[in-house]
């Protein structure tokens, strides 16, 4: 397989300069798109590639772009925003691209912005990504200098400005509408949909928010064509995917692999298997807000449909592995503590439900659990579900909990019965 996302990334992760990037064929796709294609044609190509959003929800990218009004009477300015907030626990895939190859993101953004005829674009970056911030700042300066950004880019008559915005570091800033509010200087609470950002987004104007990895996949699609891109994949969903592993494995890391690589291959081959003396107990396949997969799922292809059929979500494609010597209650407590803290406080179930969940798990973990606590946890997994809370944060928070209650029920019960955490001595 040919790498499309990580092909330029150096082993030491030093960012690729504009010169190096261009020597490797960079910016040719953007130049071609902007000068020779129409926005509609770019959209069509991306639609055909079956590229799905890598930010977690997996919505087909080309289809999403198609909702943006085009033509002379479209509201202006239109915006493209790269979601580089990456605050999902266990997820560190965009970071690799942002730090190592910022021009790939810029090129992807130029093509994507052109596809919706946007004139302003933002990179919304996680506050803690200092290295990425420096790399992007430098790359943006280079791109402006070279005339690839600003007025009349590549001499095509198309104008595009691009700004870097460093966020203040809240998980909710990664949710696309919370992100837009934050970018406008408002509280990072989400917005109701409809209206979708495609029609009323940043400052009320048509806006596309895409994940960094999604945008970085675009240049190759334009350069080599949708059919070529689709064939990189092992399954229905097109292209390659950055998969990552964290947890007590031998070689935690991120790898670009064909879409649909199995969990077994990712953990055993690329991550070097479990550390000595530890056994695999389960994994969150796509970041903290996805349901556990367990041993029986080792061989399913990790693509959108298959992971979903297994009762979870591909999410960001970065696995968090739970081993048999880590307490699953403590593991989930740690996650729920994060989610409760990161709740934006807008809607009742999440704002007041998550802290309750956190405290119940704390009680159980400390040997103070009661039988009715499990009912309360189950109640939360049901009533913090999709559609019941305002945004997807709370339902996401319930995914690891509900699957832990299902797969590791015995462990929860032991805590309560023995009035202690069996993993602590």
């Amino acid at each position: 397989m040919e790498n499309v996302l990580t092909k330029n990334i150096r082993p030491d992760q030093r960012p690729v300069s504009l010169k190096e990037y261009e020597e490797a064929g960079g910016y040719q796709a953007a130049r071609d798109a902007v000068k020779k294609k129409t926005p509609k044609e770019v959209q069509e190509e991306v639609k055909k590639s079956n590229l799905k959003g890598r930010g977690g929800a997996g919505f087909p990218t080309g289809v999403k772009w198609g909702f943006v009004p085009l033509g002379d009477d479209a509201p202006r300015p239109k915006y493209l925003v790269a979601n580089a907030d990456e605050m999902e626990p266990g997820t560190f895939k965009d970071r690799v691209l942002l730090e190592g190859d910022p021009h790939l993101l810029i090129e992807g953004m130029i093509i994507s912005a052109f596809a919706i005829d946007a004139e302003v674009s933002y990179i919304f970056l996680r506050w803690a990504y200092k290295k990425a911030e420096a790399a992007i700042e430098k790359a943006l300066a280079e791109a402006y200098e070279a005339g690839y950004l600003g007025k009349n880019i590549f001499g095509s008559g198309y104008n595009l400005d691009m700004f870097l915005h460093t966020s203040v570091g809240r998980y909710m800033c990664g949710e696309e509408t919370g992100l837009l509010n934050a970018l406008e200087g408002k509280r990072a609470t989400p917005r109701a949909k409809p209206p979708f950002p495609q029609t009323s987004g940043l400052f009320g104007k048509p806006t596309i928010v895409n994940n960094v990895e999604t945008l970085c996949s675009v240049p190759s699609i334009i350069a080599k064509g949708a059919d070529w891109y689709r064939k990189l994949s092992a399954t229905e969903d097109g292209g390659t995917k950055l998969y990552g592993v964290s947890g007590r494995v031998n070689k935690p890391g991120v790898w670009e692999l064909p879409m649909g690589t199995t969990m077994r291959e990712i953990i055993e081959e690329h991550a070097g298997g479990m550390r000595n003396g530890l056994r695999f107990k389960g994994a969150l396949p796509g970041g903290a807000s996805t349901d556990f997969l367990v041993n029986e799922h080792m061989d399913i292809p990790m693509d959108y449909a298959n992971v979903s059929n297994a009762g979870s979500r591909l999410g960001t494609g970065t696995l968090i592995v739970l081993d048999d010597q880590t307490c699953p209650v403590g593991f989930v407590l740690n996650l729920e503590r994060f989610f409760a803290r990161e709740s934006c406080g807008w809607c009742t179930p999440c704002r007041d439900g998550l802290p309750w969940v956190e405290r119940i798990l704390e009680s159980i973990e400390q040997g103070d659990g009661r039988n009715e606590d499990l009912d309360l946890l189950n109640m939360h997994t049901k009533y913090l579900g999709p559609g019941l809370t305002f945004c997807a944060l709370a339902p996401g928070a319930m995914e690891p909990l509900q699957s832990a209650l299902k797969y590791f029920a015995e462990d929860f019960e032991r805590h309560i019965k023995e009035k202690r955490c069996p993993w602590r001595h």
Binding site: R170, M172, R187, R191, A192, P194, P195, T199, S200, F203, G204, A340, R341, E342, S343, C344, G345, W346, C347, T348, P349, R351, D352, G353, L354, P355, W356, R359, E372, L376, M379, Y383, G387, L388, T389, F390
Partner: protein
């Protein structure tokens, strides 16, 4: 209309509504918090969960928030679905995890929407076994108490305060279950409509501090519908009493007037009723220079009767804050030609001009609700936030009309509040404001300009000329103003509902003429303009409609010896005319008889003073600036011998052996006779039902069915329960007994419905939520314009303003707190009022070498005043402003020329 199906029954509902609104409009119950009928939906609280089905055959359904779903044809939904109900009870359970459960000591208890919704959602048993979080409360000023622990994070307060009322010093802070609603630091809430937080907040976070200082439960209040007396807008209020003192004011919903809200002056300005400056006994001065002494009712009546019996030299001076009935009674007592208006000549001219313009047409005076529909607005001369506060709030809604169009284009229903505001950003319908000094509303105006009153009028005349060539043009207009006039003219002409707002606060007749010309020009150009005039007092309009003589004429009568006995009704002349002139006039009156409720300079000059009821102690009818006559009702009976002005006047008349009013039995007779006597008031009788009105043979109770302590409260005097006082004047009862259903809309003593103890029960009284009251919104419009094809134009265009040589045009500057004297008896209002000051343009100040904050001696009407200087760069050069209405300042005589005395230069 569309058909929706709720738990197996089909209903017709309005497709402009969301499902929550549709459900509530049908009279069904569904709990909610974050939605508010005046502010739409944001979907935050998740309390309004219902089940929606794909179609008739879908049995599974999906839990959905009713407030975020449009009412679509063929929607199948369930309120009773077990899962939906469970969700609703969980929402309460979550909210309650941190709620302090301090209802017994909470000011909101008994009218708390959170209590009601908790009961409605059916959550009862606490399963959360952890500590609650606590907050530090803030000092928010004299009006609002803050108790953050009770907060349920519905976000209504910030949406109301910031989005609806335009405030910027209240916000949501922090995140997760530690969101905080307050100011960035302790301090006085600055918005003029902050008091509505008390009603908007569904629980006891923001409560009325003035009520707290003499607290009473809602169910223990005796309440009746009333009308705010603190400006000319005539906002509808509910006043509540306990133990003989007035405890609080609540907004009374009127779909055509103030809607759900009132301003802070209206809400908190009531404490004058309880003031120790109240006149409690008749006072009589036995000889001209003797001290007045308290006396009894019979003595004073006899004394005055002697003065007026067989005396044809008695005149009466009425009042723009007294009711039509009291003014009418005075007129009856003294005779039609001997009744004078009691306002300055200039004021008198202005109000009469207004009435002529409104009667002539062609433009109609809009209600506050109609003002919210205006899509192009021109304000001439009025600082509305301070002269007609609720109109300013209406204009803030009106400028959003363009946002409706933007939302429509994007298929966003208007009730989806956050989305509409996001899509529309700061896009506002055109609003132009021309005033002498900057105003708060400028922030939503397309353009605002600072001009002297005559120049504002010239701009107005020029606008009229731009709209229609027939309207007289303005010579020598600056280029800048000419192009502005063109822009404003185009904007008004192109609008569907153009609105011109002006008023009497600049005391400049040219402004009124210019406004009338614009309205006429618009009409001639085929547009449908409306025109609104603010006035000074709660019944300025009503008094002016009585065609009374002027104060100057009254003075003339006294001077000529045609009058020796002068009866003044609820009117401190020192606030109306120059102080020396007032003293001179009052000294000339041989026998001065004054009826009032507060001691003031005029009462101190009187031979006889009669203690009259304040607004909450009597009945009356007022005409607001729209020309809408509205009735207020007695809430509580004042301690004898205090009684209504009209009652005293009748008693005087009878005592003097006159039979003009001798067979008028009750308040209603005064109204009836007035409506018969003056055709302009013929409709006022029908504002509310007569005293004999009964529903199911019952009166309307002023007290709730939970009213407590009826026997105990008098037990220290007498253990027998007191006889309930009979109300001969209205169909209300001073009692808990009576008809418990919905009374006629003009007679709603409080909003209540089973299960709905808070102001949210208003839903149950409306035809549809946020719409008119069942039975029609109360009040009767008295003035409709003649539909004449072309009205004549005013032709007297003033010369442009020329700054004087060493003299300054001195204008009144208005303050919501400070410019109205009754409300100043509330300590909190006085605290918010400015001290005496003089404001002046920065260039003028520099030229005079006076600094901001320094004292200057300023001479106006030959009297020197030492005042702190406030530099106000927005003022035009050559103009000085003094705060209107503050005691000790000569604002009654403004505009006038003044100068700085040598000492300060």
């Amino acid at each position: 209309m569309v058909t929706i199906h709720i738990d197996g029954t089909s209903y017709q509902v309005d497709e402009q509504q969301n499902l929550l609104e549709a459900i509530l409009s049908l009279g069904l119950d569904l709990p909610y918090f974050c939605w508010h009928p005046a502010m739409g939906s944001v979907g935050a609280c998740r309390q309004c969960a219902i089940k929606i089905y794909k179609d008739e055959n879908d049995t599974q359904g999906k839990i959905t928030m009713a407030c975020m779903e449009p009412a679509k044809e063929g929607t199948y939904l369930s309120l009773n679905d077990a899962e939906a109900k469970e969700m609703r009870s969980h929402v309460i359970q979550w909210l309650m995890t941190n709620h302090p459960h301090d209802c017994p000591i909470c000011d909101e208890g008994g009218e708390c929407h959170l209590q009601d919704m908790t009961v409605m959602a059916g959550h009862a048993y606490r399963r959360h076994r952890y500590n609650k979080r606590t907050y530090r409360n803030q000092y928010l000023g004299p009006f609002i108490n803050h108790e953050m622990n009770r907060c349920i994070q519905c976000y209504r307060c910030v949406r109301y305060y910031r989005d609806y009322a335009g405030g910027d010093d209240l916000d949501a802070f922090a995140a997760h279950n530690h969101v905080y609603f307050g100011r960035h630091e302790d301090g006085v809430l600055q918005n003029e409509f902050s008091g509505n937080l008390v009603e908007v907040c569904p629980t006891g976070v923001f409560t009325d501090k003035t009520l707290k200082s003499h607290y009473t439960r809602k169910w223990d209040l005796t309440t009746a519908p009333s009308i705010c007396h603190h400006c000319s807008m005539g906002c509808n209020i509910i006043a509540g009493e306990r133990y003989g003192s007035l405890r609080r004011i609540y907004a009374r919903y009127n779909g055509k007037v103030n809607g759900y809200f009132i301003c802070d002056r209206g809400r908190f300005g009531y404490e004058f009723v309880n003031s120790d400056k109240r006149i409690q006994q008749p006072m009589l001065r036995k000889e001209r220079n003797a001290d007045p002494e308290p006396t009894d009712k019979q003595t004073i009546l006899r004394h005055i009767a002697e003065r007026i019996q067989n005396n044809d030299r008695v005149i009466g001076i009425g009042s723009p804050i007294a009711s039509l009935e009291s003014n009418f009674a005075l007129q009856q007592l003294v005779g039609e030609n001997r009744f004078y208006g009691g306002i300055s000549n200039s004021e008198d001219r202005l109000v009469k001009t207004v009435i002529n313009i409104l009667r002539q047409g062609p433009a109609r005076t809009p209600s506050l609700k109609e003002i919210e529909n205006a899509d192009a607005i021109l304000v001439l001369g009025e600082d509305l936030t301070n002269t007609a506060p609720m109109m300013a709030l209406s204009l803030r809604q009106a400028v959003r009309n363009i946002q409706k169009k933007i939302a429509q284009k994007l298929n966003i229903p208007y009730w989806q509040d956050a989305a509409v505001r996001e899509a529309a950003q700061e896009e506002y319908s055109p609003c132009y404001i021309a005033t002498p000094a900057g105003t708060k509303l400028d922030e939503v105006a397309r353009k605002s300009m600072r001009l002297a009153p005559v120049d504002i009028a010239r701009l107005g005349f020029a606008v009229a000329h731009r709209i229609s060539n027939d309207a007289p043009g303005v010579d020598n207009l600056s280029k800048e103003l000419a192009s502005l006039a063109a822009e404003i003219g185009e904007s008004l002409k192109g609008a569907e509902h153009p609105l011109i707002v002006t008023g009497t606060s600049c005391r400049n007749e040219n402004l009124l003429h210019a406004s009338a010309n614009i309205a006429a020009a618009l009409k001639n150009a085929g547009a449908q303009p409306s025109i609104s005039f603010t006035m000074h007092d709660a019944n300025s309009m009503g008094l002016a409609m009585m065609n009374a003589g002027t104060l100057a004429q009254a003075k003339h009568e006294v001077q000529e010896g045609n009058a020796d006995t002068v009866i003044i009704l609820e009117n401190d002349l020192y606030k109306r005319i120059d102080e020396d002139a007032a003293t001179e006039f009052l000294d000339q009156c041989q026998h001065l008889i004054v009826l009032d409720y507060l001691h003031n300079k005029t009462t101190s000059k009187a031979e006889a003073v009669l203690p009259v009821s304040a607004f909450s102690e009597t009945f009356g009818t007022l005409v607001n600036q729209e020309g809408r006559a509205q009735r207020f009702f007695e809430v509580h009976i004042p301690a004898e011998p205090v009684q209504a002005g009209w009652q005293w006047l009748k008693d005087l008349s009878t005592a003097a052996g006159k039979n003009a009013m001798s067979d008028w039995q009750n308040f209603h007779d005064f109204t009836r006779h007035l409506s018969n006597a003056m055709p302009q008031f013929k409709d006022i009788e029908a504002i509310s039902p007569p005293p004999g009105y009964r529903v199911a043979d019952q009166r309307i109770p002023r007290q709730s069915h939970r009213y407590s302590g009826r026997t105990a409260m008098h037990a220290h005097h007498n253990v027998h329960e007191k006889k309930t006082p009979q109300d001969k004047d209205s169909a209300f009862a001073f009692s808990m007994e009576g008809y418990r259903g919905q009374p006629p809309p003009s007679m709603i003593p409080l909003f209540w419905s089973p299960g709905w103890n808070s102001a949210q029960s208003i839903n149950k009284y409306q035809i549809e939520v946020g719409g008119g009251l069942h039975g029609g919104d109360p009040g009767k419009r008295l003035i409709e314009p003649q539909e004449k094809a072309d009205s004549p134009y005013f032709k007297n265009i003033p010369e442009p303003f020329e700054p004087g040589e060493n003299r300054w045009l001195t204008l009144p500057g208005y303050h919501i707190f400070g410019s109205e004297s009754l409300s100043m008896h509330t300590p909190g209002v006085a605290e918010r009022a400015p001290g005496p000051y003089l404001s002046i343009n920065d260039h003028d100040a520099a030229q005079l070498n006076i600094k901001d904050g320094a004292d200057a001696t300023y001479v106006v009407a030959d009297r020197p005043y030492t005042l702190a200087v406030k530099i106000n760069a927005s003022l035009p050069r050559g103009v000085v402003e003094l705060p209107a209405g503050l005691p000790g300042l000569p604002t009654a005589i403004l505009p006038a020329w003044g100068k700085f005395s040598e000492a300060s230069e």
